[in-house]
Assembly symmetry: C2
Homo-oligomer: 207 residues x 2
Amino acid sequence: MSTPLHSIRASGSRDKIIAAATSLFAAHGFKGTTTRMIADLAQVNEALIYRHFPSKEGLYAAIIEKKIEKLAPLLERLRRAAETSESPQTVLREIAREMFASVEDDPQFLRLFYFSGLEGHSLSRMFFEAYIETFNRNLSSYILSRTREGVFRALDPMLTARAFAGIVLHYLVVQTIFPEAERLRDREKAIDTFVDIFLQGILRRLP
Amino acid sequence: MSTPLHSIRASGSRDKIIAAATSLFAAHGFKGTTTRMIADLAQVNEALIYRHFPSKEGLYAAIIEKKIEKLAPLLERLRRAAETSESPQTVLREIAREMFASVEDDPQFLRLFYFSGLEGHSLSRMFFEAYIETFNRNLSSYILSRTREGVFRALDPMLTARAFAGIVLHYLVVQTIFPEAERLRDREKAIDTFVDIFLQGILRRLP
DNA sequence: ACTAGATAAGTAATCATTTACTTTCGTGCT
DNA sequence: AGCACGAAAGTAAATGATTACTTATCTAGT
C-alpha cells in the first residue's frame, strides 16, 4: 500500500510533468501546447514525457481524468449543502460560495474545461457530465423537493437549476477567460445579490 | 461609388478564404487550424492566402474584426427593445429572443468568441468589449431607469445585468460548446422560464 | 550486475511563409 | 477598335523552423 502504483523508485518527474502540462494546457489548450514547452517548464528531458505517458494525448487524458476525480469532493460538498435543513437562502449562498471558492483555488480548471469542449476532445463528454450535468441534476433535485413542499413556485426544475448555474458560472467563466473583465471588489456582495435575485425569482408568494 | 473598396478586379477567392477560415477557426481555434486546411476547404492555392492577407494572424484578425462589426445590428436591436414603453416582461423576452436568434443563425460566433479569449488573442479584448461589456452596459442602464421609477428593487444594476446575461448566455454557450448537452425541446418555454425567474427576482413588491 | 530513470541526438512529418514564375484582365494610347 | 502594358490573381515548389515521437546510450540505486 505504501509503494506507488506506477513505479517502484521515487522519481518525482512524473508529477513535475503533470504539473507543467496542466498549467500549459490550461493556458494555451492542447494544440497550443508543445511537448517541448512541457519539458522546459517541468525541467525534464522531452523524451522522459514518453517514459511516463504513451503520447501527448495520453498525458492530456491523464490530466483531465485527474481533474474529473478531483471534482468529487466539491460535488459532495454541494450535495451536502443541499441536504441540510437550513433555509434556501443559506443553502444557495453556500453553493455559490463553494463555486466561487473552487474556481479561485484552481483557476486552471475552468480553462481546461472550456478548452476541452471547444477543441472537441473525446474526454470532454465525461468532463461535462461530471461537472455541469451532475451539478444541474443535484440542484434540480433540491429545487424539486422544495417545490413539492410549496416553498418554491412550480417551475421546470432543470431550467431553474440551469438559471442558477448560469448566473454564477457565467460570471466566473467571464472572469477566468477574459482577464480584461472588471474584477469584482466584493465577492460576498456579488454572491448575496445573485442568490437574492434567484431566490426571490423562484420563491412562492404567500397569499 | 459602384466599384468595390478593396480591389478593382472581382476575385471571389478572398471571400472563399474568409468563409473557409471562419468555420475552421470556429471549429478548431487558431492553433488548431492550418493554412493548408483553409486552402483545401476554400479550394484555392495555399500561397493565395498570403496574397490577400499578410499572415495567418492577419487573416484571423480580419475575421474577428468582421464579426465585431456584424454585432452592431444585434446590439442596436437590443438597445431599441430596451427603449420601448412595453412591459419589462415583453422587453426582457425580446432581448432573450434576440440572443437565442443571434446564436442560432451564427453558431460560429460564440465558438470564435470563446476561442479568442482562451487562446489569448490580442483582439479578444475588443471582442469582449463589443459583445459582453456593451450588452451589460445597455441592460444595466435599462435596469437602473426602471429601478428609479420604482418598478425594480434597489439592486446593483451591473450585477443584475450580469445575472440576466448569465442565465441566457450560459445556456447558449453550453449548448454551443458541448454538443452532448441536452438540447431544449421548447425554446419559447425556456425563454419564458428564464425571464419569469429573473423578473420576479428583481420586481419591487407592492406593499 | 541488473533494472528503472534519465538523456542526447536524432527521426520523418508538418508548420507558416516565401520565391520565382505564369496567367488574367482593366486601362490608356494609338 | 485594337493593342501593348502593368498590376493583380494565381500557382508549383521550395524554405527553414518546429512538431510529436524514437532510438541508442548512459547513470544510479539495490
